[in-house]
Symmetry: none
Subunit: 257 residues, 2 copies
């Protein structure tokens, strides 16, 4: 608008691109360019290896410096995704996960459906070498994978962001039917992650995780169950009420033991 | 074939990628990788600036050396496209041309239609800096352009090839993700209903439903949450374990009260 907005008014409001522990500044810059090409601007960085700001990222971003300058830094995925209601995780390989797996096109449609009704949505991208860890994928609702040749799958970080950004752009002005917005207000990730902590803390107190070696696997199962349904705000509140109730009952036990 | 074909038999027969006077060997290597990612293998070079073969291209191609090694060199576009029946020209800007202009997706469908009936088809990509000249575009049947943000259009050569290769892959009909979430045995309703009873019983003991008049509405919410995700048998067992754990903790409270 009025020539001051380089990305153009129509280009605002796309999904957040969340890079988890990106290693090379150059790649962050290339990601910014890929985003700018397709009108995305919300870049979030979780613990970039070489710190932030990063000169190499700025250099590689070239004219996409508006994306780099607006990038926000976070310590954890939980914080980076706190205000979102829908979170995708990009992965290159099969996971021991029961989440829905979408291709980029369907993933973009799913993002569009949320964003069009004013909800925040984003996509997690893992480290250049090793991608996302399982416990990080657990924090997302749905998995995106790219239809690459299984015998030669070497998409780099910026290319993966490029494809998702391209598919996002393809959803603009799409005439295809969009799925109905849920009537319920979906929970923001922050609320969901606090539920994780609350439940797991209560289960710790109740000695649920034993033997301790199984703790991680059990948490993986529980978080998989809690991310899949896309719980609403009210539902997360209800679940926290359930956990609180049990805690209180146990607390009486603890107090009197 | 017989394990020697790294890209796999299913991946053969895609369109030719024709680079017109590419300038940097690195970019040719990156193009080869983008092609290999999506199963393309027919790379044709028209007068690469730094000659051919090119060490930097080989280095940048990394494991896509099968594409680089099979690349063919031509003096003119006419020769490079001689055996094709359908030729697309990629351009970034509007042309004084009356050719059809397609987006990448429709362009890939047009390629597929020819290739599926045994015709040769290909895509022209211009020089990194200046693209294709008008007289070169004239040699093609149809124009492809990318839906980039007009205010920030900086797709590089390898990215343009990546997007076309990706869209080619999308036409293979394998739009479904290439891995499926592991099969889960869905819970039978009986198991689910026993979970309802178990949870609600535990919540009764913990005095969750108060005032009692709200009990019915609260159960309605809880059951709605537990039916929506389509939990598996194992997941229902996990939830029962959670409830049992809390019960046991409360039981200790009760026993000692």
């Amino acid at each position: 608008m009025a020539g001051t907005n380089r990305t153009g008014e129509i280009m605002r409001g796309g999904p957040a691109i969340i890079l988890v522990e990106p290693q090379l500044g150059e790649n962050i810059g290339m990601v910014a360019r890929a985003m700018a090409n397709f009108g995305l601007s919300d870049l979030r960085l979780v613990n970039p290896r070489d710190g932030w700001p990063n000169e190499r990222a700025v250099a590689a971003a070239s004219r996409a410096d508006h994306v780099i300058e607006a990038a926000r830094l976070f310590d954890t995925i939980e914080e980076a995704a706190a205000d979102l209601t829908f979170l995708l995780a990009t992965t290159a390989r099969a996971r021991d996960s029961h989440k829905t797996v979408l291709g980029p096109r369907d993933a973009a449609a799913a993002l569009r459906a949320r964003i069009d009704v004013g909800q925040g949505a984003g996509i997690l991208f893992g480290r250049e070498r090793t991608g996302l860890e399982n416990h990080e994928v657990d924090l997302a609702d749905t998995i995106v994978t790219f239809p690459v040749n299984p015998a030669f799958a070497s998409l780099n970080l910026a290319q993966a962001v490029l494809l998702m950004s391209y598919e996002w752009m393809n959803t603009t002005g799409e005439t295809a039917p969009r799925f109905q917005a849920p009537e319920q207000v979906p929970a923001e990730k922050d609320e969901l992650y606090r539920l994780f902590d609350h439940l797991e803390g209560a289960l710790d107190k109740a000695n649920y995780f034993h033997p301790p070696a199984k703790r991680e696997a059990m948490i993986h199962i529980l978080r998989g169950m809690l991310t899949r349904p896309g719980f609403s705000e009210g539902e997360v509140r209800t679940l926290r009420g359930v956990v609180r109730t049990f805690e209180r009952s146990m607390g009486r036990a603890g107090a009197e033991e």
